[in-house]
Structures are given as structure tokens and as C-alpha cells.
């Protein structure tokens, strides 16, 4: 399967040769599926739908139980045995059953569409991340890194539209804040990712991971490592940076007017973003599916390592929600422009110097 064309098979040739008649659609569709389809297990279960939903459900439950412990209380207790396992399904069912209240003076097409986009578009980005050397759902080859940032570039627009559409003062301010935050937070990340691509010599995520076979990029590019780690909090709006959804000031930021399953979608979107950025962080800096280098011998690269690193990072990031208060908007912008962007450029400079000297 040639990896440089996005769509392959007769459909591509037909489209180019524009003899496109209604008659041979069924055959084209079947042939397209045959060529481009991945094993069903991969699509449905691991890197695909199952993993996204499974992590969202696990993260909600884990966060409520883990943070409850930090607050010296028990967390979900009655629903599904003492561990409260069914609490998340109960919440989802409740949200599913609830009536979706759409206020009158609202631009309802945008209002209804935005939460759906917010939870589906970032999950597209998840397909680019290599879970194993041949285990990439959407193999666009050397386009995968810029494709990830292209898709993730759309993600901040959606809260801005829905904040504007819900015609509510609090969501209006929340929408502004999303715009400020992504402008000041996203640029350093792209520069750091560029640094990684330069050091790995290619923009294909699989090659980036293979380049980290014997030394993870976290070691040489430590500044980029720290910045991208901060980037996870900024992009997925976790605690030190959950400024757009600051319950304390703005009732619920841009999500104030949502109820029912739309609110459920916005909650799930938060975890999909968090998942996508954490996996990207592991792929770029912690050597994706490569095992740790023990006594000079790189252990076999296997999907288990990716999931293990992912789990450890998730636990650490969730714990930080209890540890740090929230930043103010102007402090966040100052941090983004005055500290993160120059540091990212510095990191890029070091990477180029190391590349020229051939150190790594």
C-alpha cells in the first residue's frame, strides 16, 4: 500500500479521470474499503473508538475517586458496589435522559453542533498516533506531525463559536478566554514539536519514535520536554490553566448554557483532548512504544510500554488538580509570550546546534 497518497485504489484514479458515474459507486465503495481498511480490532478497540471512550470513562471515575481521597472523603460510593464503578454510566445515562434545554435567543445550529464537533475532531487526531510500529490507524506518513497540529488547531475555534452562540455573558467571556489562551499557549508547542522533528530527521511519527530507540528525546531537549508538559495542561485546560471554565468566576465558562447530552459531550471532549495531548507528549519526548533503555540494552518496543507511560502520566496530571490554584488570564498570557515562546526558540536553537555538530 503506497503510503504517500491519501486515498488509493480505483476511486482515486476515477476521481482524477473524472469518469464518475452513479452506476459503479457500490463497487468502488467495496474496493475502497478493502484497500484502506484496517483490521477491525484496531479500528474498534485499541487505538480507535474503544480506547477513546474507555479512557474517558476510566478517567472520570478515577479522577473522582482519586481526588476524593486527596480531599479525605470517599468519592462515588453507592453506585455499583463500594468502588462506585457504575457511577460514570449512571451519570452518562442521566445526561442522556435529560432534556436538552435550548434557550430561545440562541443561534441553535451552532449551539447544538459545537459540542459534537469538539468531541469528534480531537479524536481524529488520536488516529495519527502510532501505538506500535505498524499500528497506525491513519498512516499519512511524513504528514502525521503537521496533520496532528492542523486538526488540533481547529479544536480551540469550537468553544469560541459555542460561547458566542449561547448568547450568555458568562460564556461570552469564557469564549474570549479560550481565544487568549490558545493564542499564547499553542505557538511554543509547535516550535518544540519542530525541534523534535529536526532531531528525528523526519515528520513521520513512527520514524520519530524509532529515532528514540536508544535515547528518548526528553534527555537532549529537556526545555522542550518541560514546555510540552505544560502544553498538556494548557491545551486540555487542566487545573493550573482551566481559566475558560473557571466555575468560581464564570459559572461554567463557555459551557454554561449546555444541558443534557450536549453537556455530556463537552465533558467527554475535555478528556479526549487530554488523552490526545498526553499521547502526543509521550510519542514526541518519552519514546512512544519503545521500552526503557536498561543497562544499555533497549528493551523490545511493545504497546504495553506506551500504555504504562500513559497511565503514570495521567495519574500525575490528575493529582496536580488538587495541588495548584488557577492562574489569572493576564498571568497566563504573560507566561505564554514572555517565557514559553522564547524558551521554545532557545530549545530549537540547541537542537539545530546539536544536529549540525552531529551530537545526537
Amino acid at each position: 500500500m503506497n503510503s504517500n497518497s491519501l486515498i488509493s485504489g480505483t476511486l482515486a484514479n476515477l476521481v482524477q479521470a473524472d469518469q464518475f458515474s452513479l452506476m459503479n459507486i457500490p463497487s468502488m465503495v467495496i474496493e475502497f474499503l478493502a484497500l484502506n481498511s484496517k483490521p477491525l480490532l484496531q479500528v474498534l478497540l485499541l487505538p480507535g473508538l474503544g480506547f477513546i471512550l474507555g479512557f474517558a470513562i476510566f478517567a472520570v471515575w478515577f479522577e473522582r475517586k482519586f481526588l476524593a481521597r486527596a480531599m479525605l472523603r470517599v468519592g462515588p460510593y453507592y453506585c455499583g458496589g463500594r468502588a462506585g464503578v457504575l457511577q460514570v454510566f449512571a451519570d452518562f445515562l442521566k445526561l442522556f435522559m435529560k432534556e436538552i434545554i435550548i434557550p430561545t435567543a440562541i443561534d441553535w445550529p451552532f449551539f447544538v453542533a459545537m459540542p459534537v464537533f469538539l468531541s469528534t475532531i480531537p479524536s481524529l487526531a488520536l488516529l495519527l498516533i502510532p501505538f506500535a510500529s505498524n499500528w497506525v490507524l491513519w498512516d499519512v506518513g511524513s504528514l502525521s506531525l503537521p496533520m496532528f497540529f492542523a486538526i488540533m488547531g481547529i479544536a480551540p475555534l469550537i468553544p469560541i463559536f459555542s460561547g458566542w452562540a449561547s448568547n450568555n455573558k458568562y460564556s461570552f467571556i469564557g469564549a474570549w478566554r479560550v481565544a487568549y489562551m490558545y493564542i499564547s499557549g499553542e505557538i511554543p508547542l509547535v516550535i518544540c514539536a519542530a525541534g523534535v522533528a529536526i532531531m528525528a530527521g523526519s515528520m513521520d511519527l513512527v520514524k520519530i519514535v524509532e529515532a528514540q530507540q536508544n535515547m528518548w528525546f526528553a534527555v537532549p531537549q529537556f526545555i522542550g520536554f518541560i514546555l510540552f508538559f505544560l502544553g498538556i495542561f494548557i491545551e486540555s485546560e487542566r487545573t493550573p490553566f482551566d481559566i475558560p471554565v473557571a466555575e468560581v468566576e464564570l459559572v461554567f465558562g463557555w459551557r454554561t448554557e449546555y444541558s443534557g447530552i450536549l453537556f455530556g459531550f463537552t465533558m467527554m471532549a475535555e478528556y479526549v483532548l487530554f488523552q490526545a495531548w498526553t499521547l502526543m507528549f509521550i510519542t514526541l519526548y518519552l519514546g512512544g512504544f519503545n521500552g526503557p533503555v536498561l543497562m544499555g540494552m533497549p528493551t523490545a518496543s511493545h504497546i504495553f510500554w506506551l500504555l504504562a507511560k500513559f497511565f503514570v502520566l495521567v495519574v500525575f496530571i490528575i493529582l496536580l488538580r488538587c495541588v495548584f490554584p488557577r492562574l489569572r488570564m493576564d498571568q497566563m498570557i504573560k507566561l505564554g509570550w514572555k517565557y514559553m515562546t522564547p524558551l521554545a526558540l532557545l530549545n530549537l536553537f540547541f537542537v539545530i546546534v546539536m544536529k549540525i555538530l552531529g551530537v545526537v
Binding site: 481521597r69 486527596a70 480531599m71 472523603r73 470517599v74 493529582l319 496536580l320 488538587c322 495541588v323
Partner: protein, 156 residues
């Protein structure tokens, strides 16, 4: 580097909190033992009462009313728990300690009229076990140096 140490210090403080046991009591299955002076629902001792009516007059919310009960010619206090704020004046001012507090707090009812306790009803105090059938044990809070712990007093 002191900035980094200051940044990590709150993390070092919060992380061990996850390992502490929780400070909550699972109410219906375990119920706390209240202290001896706890102000719960009243209990009325008919024999001690000389029906002087001080409790009715001293009550700040006028929720005590002296009513006749059949078989007795004197009047005895009837407490209306809709307005009673359990302030304890009636118990303190009663010359014969005819009114006392119990530690029953579960006396919510469906409608308001049931909350008006006649003297006879005030006299008998239901046992806690049949108010809370699902209660398994009684616990008690005690303080150690590091944290507040809960221990089992008795099984039910």
C-alpha cells in the same frame, strides 16, 4: 532552585493525603454516637411535671403549648417541631427536669401536622434500631495526633 523547591513542596504535602483514610461516616450503615448533652428530640416525664407552664412561656419560638390530656385534669406541654429550634431553654428552665433531650434526630415526617408532638407521644422514645433498620454499627470519633479517626463502638 528555591523556586523549584517551593513549587514541589505543595505536591509533597498533597500526595500523602491520598493514602490517608477518609474522614466520612457512611450514615445509614454506621451512625455516630452523640455526646451526652446532645440536643435531639425531647422526652417528657409525665410524673415529674407539675404543669407550671414555664417551658411554654420561656420558649423563644412559642412552639410549646400547654394542652389537656384525657385522664388528667392538668395541662401538659405539647411541642410543635415545625418551629422549635432545639435551643434548650425549656430544658434549662424546667424546675423539675420533666423535659430532657434524647439523641434522636431522625424525626422527619411527610406532613406538618405529624410534627406536632402531643405529651403522650413525647413520653415514649423509639429505639434507634427500629428507626434505622439498615444500621449495622455505631461508631465514635476520637482524635489522635495526626488525624481524626473513627472506631466501632458496638455492632447492631
Amino acid at each position: 532552585m528555591s523556586w523549584l523547591r517551593k513549587m514541589l513542596k505543595p505536591l509533597m504535602i498533597v500526595a500523602p493525603y491520598v493514602l490517608r483514610n477518609s474522614q466520612t461516616v457512611a450514615y445509614p450503615t454506621e451512625r455516630l454516637m452523640f455526646f451526652e448533652r446532645f440536643r435531639g428530640r425531647h422526652v417528657f416525664h409525665l410524673d415529674k411535671c407539675i404543669s407550671c407552664g414555664i417551658c411554654a412561656r420561656v420558649c423563644p419560638d412559642a412552639s410549646i403549648e400547654m394542652v389537656e390530656i384525657e385522664g388528667k385534669d392538668k395541662k401538659y406541654p405539647q411541642i410543635d417541631y415545625n418551629t422549635c429550634c432545639l435551643c434548650g431553654y425549656c430544658v434549662n428552665q424546667c424546675p423539675r427536669q420533666a423535659l430532657e433531650f434524647t439523641d434522636i434526630v431522625e424525626f422527619a415526617t411527610a406532613d406538618r401536622s405529624e410534627l406536632v408532638y402531643s405529651p403522650e407521644r413525647l413520653m415514649e422514645v423509639p429505639d434507634i434500631e427500629d428507626i434505622l433498620p439498615m444500621m449495622k454499627r455505631r461508631t465514635e470519633a476520637y482524635l489522635t495526633d495526626k488525624e481524626m479517626k473513627y472506631r466501632k463502638v458496638k455492632d447492631v
